[in-house]
Amino acid sequence: TPTATSEKEVFTVNIAYGNQPGEPVDQVARKWKELAEERSDGRLDFHIYPSSQLGSEADVVEQALFGSNVIIFTGYDFLMNFVQDLGVLTAPYIVDDVDDLFYLAETEWFEEQRKELMDIGFDIVSTNTLYGERHLMTTREVLTPDDLRGMKIRVPNNQMYINTFSVLGASPTPLPLGDMYASLQQGVIDGAENPIPVLEASKTNEVAKYLALTGHTKIMSPWVSGTDFLDELPDDLLEILRETGDEAGEYGKNIVYEQEEDVLELFEEQGIIINEVDQDAFKEKAERIFEVTPEWSPDLQQTIEELLENRSTTQ
């Protein structure tokens, strides 16, 4: 029974992400803090931890599983470790447009995956944050999938990106983001892939002169917490938490688009050779992602295609 004191009880919410202060994700988190603290009248007390201060993605997710009050910015490629089919949202060329991704997050299919996640002990607090579109930056020019053959491309250390770059024909080389610059400079790797603001932030443009606008993966990323912690929150606060999270995500989308444009302009000024590539050629190669990922439900490709077709016919 809620009493006068428990209505005033303050809940600490620790927000964790790997991105640096100033990046769009950081701005989303700060907006979220502002909105949530204001609307809850201070009963939600946000602490913000950028730059993986509380630990790696996997570690903070685990902290959530152990009932700690953290909300973490993660990816469906990572949640794939728990619910395999969710990983498809980060598969290469799975959608033509980021809005298709946000549409998928509103479907019945997504809701089923989310339930599975909740059975394990996680829940998605907000799906609304855009991370960007991943492109390829290399030390040698890449125009077609054939150019990629044998090139060592740095990827995040997870199966989704390793598979993506193997089906595209490259040699995926998992390395920490912090080692990317030196490895490119020294020729340990021939290229890196990420949204271009991230490529710029890690100074890839100093050591790799070719940017191929492959757009191989478009990413929206979820904010995830443990069900133990979310169950502790009074209903009204949970409602505020979700609502303000979505609003902050919406606010962040434009920041991402603006940053992408700014960085592209900057690259152009610096003489980076920017190539529009024939994405269809890469897309064709990428189809094999379903073959090399036997962990997925056999009808997953069909399910996603049908959902996307529904969307385009209803529009």
């Binding site: 996997a58 685990e62 599983l65 470790n81 997870n158 199966q159 040699s171 080389t173």
Partner: protein, 160 residues
């Protein structure tokens, strides 16, 4: 048999170390010479490394090699110094039992959902190093208590 148990920590961690050295060198060869990096060497090496460290704790306890500040203790009269050194071992025993063994086991068992990024192996296999290595630490400390090994307590030597 007893000899085997007494030295299992040295053996396991030495094997882990040899394994890590081989794996990493192999990967240099595969990437640089064959241009075909192995994606899972890092993961396996790190798992072996964790086992090496936590089982190695037992070796270090056995040989009294942990880094401590004995400056103040050495200023005490012999009787008090001995008492404090006994307290030191009892404290390490209790801490190992509660934090390393109990919390460690709880963490390992509850953490099955977390998997390694490339091979997708449950972290439990890695985390178990903490309670397992620490049980060996407890074993050596019990031997010291049973034998009333004054030299070990005074940090004058290790246990054979």
């Amino acid at each position: 048999m007893k000899r085997l148990i007494n030295n299992i920590d040295d053996f396991l961690s030495a094997v882990a170390l040899a394994g890590i050295i081989l794996l990493i060198s192999l990967n240099v060869f595969f990437r640089f010479v064959l241009n075909n990096p192995i994606t899972w060497t890092e993961e396996i090496s790190l798992a072996l490394f964790i086992w090496l460290v936590f089982v190695g704790l037992s070796s270090a306890m056995k040989t009294n090699s942990h880094v401590g500040i004995d400056y103040f203790v050495r200023k005490l009269p012999e009787r008090w110094r001995f008492r404090l050194q006994v307290f030191r071992l009892v404290f390490i025993f209790a801490l190992t039992l509660v934090v390393f063994v109990y919390w460690g086991a709880a963490f390992a068992i509850h953490g099955v959902a977390k998997v390694t990024p490339v091979l997708g192996v449950s972290y439990t296999f890695i985390t178990l190093a903490v309670p397992v290595g620490s049980v060996l630490v407890l074993y050596h400390l019990i031997r010291v208590f049973i034998r009333k090994d004054r030299d070990y307590v005074n940090q004058e030597r290790g246990i054979e």
